[in-house]
């Protein structure tokens, strides 16, 4: 192969020498959005199977998720370069734009979580709500109860859409070679479910809830391992652009943080801890959920950063 020397006369901020337009705000938004998606999926799926929330942590999870998604949207807002025009997202629906889908899905998240949360409250909380807010609260609680099953299915659907969207926001960008994979959608959804379960496991749950959540956490992590494998094999077995992108995680610049933080610390160690705790019949520690949260954020931060550095212009 001939040696090539390229003198590139462009130095646009944020673009050169490599694209670096998305900093911590986007991984933070994807992490919080994924976690909220996971909370919606977990809490709705568990109740649809017949298990109503018992602990206060489970009952308040949908309301906590409202706070988390607001934090995520705050991070997204900070990333906007033309902040005063943020309302423009809601004057158009562009079916070909994943970001447009995301903007509208985020609007559905709020009512879904609020109604789901109301219907999951116990008698004590309902009494307090009715005393504080009067007949309006009673009416809202009645509506939440009357339409409980459709609300839970809607929450599940919105949660899956939100989780998949956080991955497809990146996965549908052909110009960034590392991101251009359909596996990112389900991968980020599985990771979101896993981080949501980890967050719940850090809170006081009933024994039944803890046992069920821990099982779901392990299932989500195993799914994540499989999807991560599909993502990497898909890139590594592709053409020159895909192989070049895969190199970032398989020998290149991001290899060490990816394998250390995402695979070893965020997946392998929590899975091993869970297996050891189950085998030795020891009570679960808080270390495994903490590591899952670190791994979930690292996955998004590394994929966002490495993807921006993989472009056609940088191909050998």
């Amino acid at each position: 192969m001939q040696p090539v020397e390229i003198d590139f006369g462009r130095h646009n901020p944020g673009v050169d020498p490599q694209l670096h337009i998305w900093g911590w705000e986007i991984p933070a938004y994807l992490f919080l959005g994924g976690m909220v998606a996971g909370l919606m999926v977990l809490t709705a799926a568990v109740e649809l199977r017949g298990d109503r929330p018992r602990s206060w942590a489970m009952q308040l999870a949908p309301f906590g998720a409202l706070g988390l998604i607001s934090l995520g949207m705050g991070a997204l807002f900070l990333d906007l370069a033309h902040k005063l025009y943020v309302w423009r997202f809601y004057l158009a629906f562009r079916p070909a734009s994943p970001m447009s889908w995301g903007a509208w899905i985020l609007l559905l998240v709020y009512p879904a979580l609020a109604i789901q949360g109301l219907g999951g409250l116990d008698a004590t909380a309902r009494g307090w709500l009715t005393r504080t807010f009067g007949a309006r609260a009673g009416w809202a609680l009645g509506q939440a109860d009357e339409h409980r099953t459709p609300v839970l299915w809607a929450t599940l659907a919105v949660g899956v859409s939100l989780g998949v969207y956080t991955g497809l926001l990146l996965g549908t960008v052909p110009a960034r070679l590392l991101w251009n994979s359909a596996a990112l959608g389900p991968l980020f959804l599985a990771s979101g479910v896993s981080t949501a379960a980890a967050l719940l496991l850090l809170l006081p749950l009933t024994d039944d809830e803890r046992h069920r959540t821990a099982k779901l956490d392990v299932a989500a992590m195993l799914a994540e391992v499989v999807l991560l494998g599909i993502f990497l094999v898909g890139l590594a077995s592709g053409g020159t652009p895909q192989r070049s992108a895969a190199h970032a995680l398989l020998g290149g610049e991001y290899t060490a943080p990816f394998w250390a933080l995402v695979v070893l610390l965020g997946l392998a160690t929590p899975l091993a801890l869970n297996a050891a705790e189950s085998w030795l019949r020891r009570p679960a520690t808080r270390l495994a959920p903490l590591l899952v949260l670190i791994g979930g954020y690292s996955l998004r931060a590394i994929v966002v950063a490495a993807g921006q550095h993989s472009s056609f212009a940088l191909l050998p």
């Binding site: 998305w22 970001m99 052909p174």
Partner: protein, 179 residues
Amino acid sequence: MSTRYAMVVDTRLCVACKACVLACKAENAIPEGYCRDWLVEEVRGEYPNLTAENRSERCNQCSNAPCVSACPTGASHVADGGIVLVTPDKCTGCKACMSACPYDARYVTPDGYVDKCTFCIHRVQRGQEPACVSICPTRTLHFGDLSDPDSTVSRLLRSRPYKVNHPESGADPNVYFLV
């Protein structure tokens, strides 16, 4: 057939004088430190068997523009003649278009909206050539309508071998390089 504007860059004539870059900055009042077009100087081989290619590059005004598809607000759109434009008043600065562009041809202005080459549409609508084309001292740059078989760009592409940047991106670019 509708108008399809394109640019043809004769890499055999370009001397990398950067007059196109300066003309663009002056014509479009580009902020300091930014550019809509730029020069790439590529040298291949080992001495004494060297080949050099100078390319004046810019937004490729793609027929299948991924930036337009990615834009959530419709700020990025296709105008008459296939020219891809950004409406600043609709742009949130989300940068989805920048991540979608295979050529990294866009940037965020200090005012917060995304900007790029417009083929100097304001001049084209007055019947003039883009600023970079009109100033080029070696007649490296040619601009015209690909749908017109008698246009300069159509004749050049019929008579000379050419290439486009990153055809594998699938964006169907409309800036051609004569080789």
